[in-house]
Subunit: 500 residues, 2 copies
């Protein structure tokens, strides 16, 4: 039974990858500092064990035989198809290269953590340069037609390339700029509601309550603290999130939790019977991101959401919140202003943060920038697009973990995620009458059902584009996002949009 | 370079085993309940990956070549020797068998957790019987001369066998019985000092303080809660412990932490340069246990220890502890009384708990007992040796995790650990003048140095017996333990020993 053997090998590789994910989760939540060195080699061993299986001659042989087998049921056929696509890409990297990359990831992550603590980019520069060199090597191993960066982009979003993304970012910039100008010219929204003294533990309990209400299953996941919030899954029955809290700012944890919760709901919604197989995996990073953004922005920063949750939040922190109404809170949650930190940016300026990283990454891989040039390039870009310059590297070039992880080419998927999120949300509003009225009653079940049916259940059956077409009737476009943003901004900044 | 290749393979197997250890740690501390099913297969994959390497033809070949290589330096020679011994044992199990055993461990552990929660042994019976059948198969695969149990005992203590252990337990029973009788006839020591209301978080902080003072490096480890306290190591730079707390009884967490801390100090003291190699691993389970027991009993239940720590503890829980003196506390900490739970037993009756498990395990593997018979056999043995019968299975046959883990043959090492601990401690007292006076000042550095030099640094260089001879001048014997126990009991029960 070649299919059974193919499945056994694929799932075995998934076991190694999921074990590595547990080690990574531990590394970023509970691991004591001296654990780094050996954790690095343990992760490298697991990564190379998975890679060895998925690039083995036997696996290649099975894929070849199965690709020609017309008698396979459809599910099996799609699993084989996706695995063959992955194989083609993965077998371009040697086990030695994969191990070196994994080792460097640990070294680089540790350096980033130390640099971030002190704000001293110099601690990070050499490991980051080595990481860039490795990724450049990876791009060469993958091969590319137009731009080395294309090879890396494709890793995170199949088919993505500079030639395709440049127009998307140009369009987005063109649409967002006039909205941004109008808002900047209008009276600013107050966001003092988020400032004060909010006990961490109470914040955590409140976000757990939100997550539960959203449908996140705590018997198949958990929420912990980490330096940089993330979601990670070891299978659909153990999909975890992390968050970070600031006692003086309520906003950090609130939207981190809802955002990561959106990711984790996707993982919990993947079919368990397809564990480790392409049909048991998420469609793509951009679709993954669409789930987190739909929950964070379309739902979690919506008026209806806070009609339900604000009174609860008020009763937890009465001294801070009694002076404010749900509408004050809603408007503050959607305040637009240039800022340094991507993960704390509003829905509009967020895309400038992504654009900056996208352009820097392009320049790194076209050879224009080295690690040592990044702090200056970073600051110049922030000045150019957002009119601000970070005071030092901590809220500047050191803010993201991605480069430490070697994840060059990842950032653009965040913007694609926003576009898909708006498209899905627009469709869900059409398909489910009174959806936001349900939110106002704390009921998110219909939305989650819609996402399960239209997105989650498919795993990697469809491409991002196919999935979007099937769910909404049209492919990727920024129109829904712009419509959504204009509607919301008219509520947040009525003066700017002439509805005051 | 065959040695370099041998080392690479050995350390790669260690990576898989240490990764599995991280997954196990997570499973028993933070994993959400639905995570069990997939965690089981992930652990099985890791176990079989390690096993595959260590039983591979290439590994066999390397060991054969290296065993004959007279030019190897001594360290390398010993690593090869120990690996060859392990190989001989491990290659008797097929990868399929190892995977089946690992899978069953997860199933059985989960069933044990559920049974323990409800006290219903029936939930555990079938998985346990399947585990017993697998262990019986394992004994047959290992082979044995006299008793199937010998094959399993040897897994935990090289060379241990019924013919060797029966006399040890008979001697121990003979020596302990009269001491026990004298104590039972004397006025009982009060232990009300442990009862009251002790906030968990404060207990945890206090035990962390003790651990730090003992020399445990929190930058290379951590302490968490778990159902059953354990220590686990992923390398000398990440050696963790768990503990459990009872708000109404101070004793649970105190001695769990010191005990597991003793284990972890051993792991932290192994040479990091020998990571994953026999010289980087603990000598044996009994020597491991000697370290936990030396710290828990000889040190942590000693008078000098509490001269230092009792005033601190008193200042944390003044309402509860103000009425008591350090000597009250010391005596209560060494109170002898029959009880149901092994891990809470005093130093004397503890060995009856072990004896009971030893005899039951012998009977399981001689075919006299099945899983279904265990609750009755258990209760009968407790009545016979300790004069008490557990009210139900929870404080009875369900109390230990060992059988759920398939660790039959493990329990006897606990008693051997006590005997070695007493021998080492007697020697350390001779070698370090004023040792206990140092304890009374909170200074444990000289003791830890003695243990590092005489025990930890050796890894698996010596057998338990050789290590004991080198450190103390004589081999395993119960004499030191009996001397130690009589001395202490004379202080705890002066009336019984004529020194009142």
């Amino acid at each position: 039974m070649p299919y059974a053997e193919y499945q056994r090998l694929t799932q075995k590789a998934a076991d190694f990858n999921n074990a590595a994910a547990v080690l990574s989760w531990d590394q970023e939540t509970y691991m004591p500092p001296k654990g780094f060195a050996l954790r690095g080699r343990q992760l490298a061993t697991l990564a190379s064990a998975a890679h060895e299986i998925l690039t083995s001659d036997r696996y290649a042989e099975l894929l070849q035989v199965l690709s020609k087998d017309k008698s396979l049921p459809e599910d099996a056929r799609i699993n084989v198809l996706r695995s063959a696509e992955d194989f083609e890409k993965a077998h371009k990297l040697s086990p030695q290269f994969v191990e070196a990359l994994s080792l460097q990831t640990t070294v680089c992550f540790e350096a980033w953590m130390q640099a971030r603590e002190t704000g001293d980019f110099a601690l990070y520069e050499a490991p980051l340069q080595k990481m860039i060199d490795l990724k450049r090597e990876q791009a060469a191993l993958y091969g590319f037609e137009n731009h080395p960066y294309d090879a890396l982009l494709d890793d995170y979003e199949k088919g993505a390339a500079v030639a395709l993304l440049d127009p998307v970012f140009i369009d987005l910039k063109a649409a967002l700029t006039p909205i941004f100008r109008k808002i900047m010219a209008a009276p600013q929204v107050a966001d003092a509601v988020f400032s004060g003294n909010f006990e961490k533990e109470k914040q955590l309990r409140f976000t757990e309550n939100i997550l539960r209400q959203m449908g996140y299953d705590f018997a198949a996941g958990r929420q912990d603290y980490s330096e940089h919030p993330f979601s990670i899954s070891f299978g659909p029955e153990d999909a975890r999130i992390t968050t970070r809290a600031d006692e003086n700012n309520l906003a950090y944890m609130l939207w981190s939790s809802v955002h990561e919760g959106g990711h984790a709901l996707y993982e919990q919604g993947l079919p368990p019977a397809q564990y480790g197989m392409p049909l048991g995996a998420a469609c793509s990073l951009s679709i993954h991101e669409s789930q987190s953004r739909l929950w964070e922005n379309c739902v979690g920063r919506g008026r209806a959401f806070w009609q339900f949750f604000y009174p609860q939040l008020q009763s937890i922190f009465p001294e801070n919140l009694d002076p404010y109404t749900p509408n004050d809170f809603f408007r503050a949650a959607n305040r637009v202003a240039p800022s340094f930190i991507r993960t704390e940016a509003d829905e509009l300026t967020y895309h400038f943060h992504v654009l900056i990283r996208y352009e820097i990454e392009k320049d790194i891989f076209s050879g224009k920038l080295q690690a040592k040039d990044l702090p200056d390039a970073w600051n110049a870009a922030y000045q150019k697009y957002l009119g601000i310059t970070p005071p030092d590297a901590k809220p500047g070039v050191l803010q993201d973990v991605h480069w430490a992880h070697g994840s060059f080419g990842y950032f653009p998927t965040y913007s694609l995620g926003s576009l898909y999120a708006a498209q899905f949300y627009e469709q869900a509003l059409k398909d489910i009458p009174g959806l936001e009225a349900q939110f106002a009653e704390g009921n998110f079940a219909a939305l989650l059902r819609w996402l399960r049916e239209n997105i989650h259940q498919y795993g990697r059956r469809l491409t991002s584009e196919e999935l979007c077409r099937r769910a909404t009737g049209s492919g990727l476009s920024s129109n829904a996002f712009i419509r959504y943003l204009e509607n919301k901004m008219a509520l947040v900044y009525p003066a700017a949009f002439g509805n005051s």
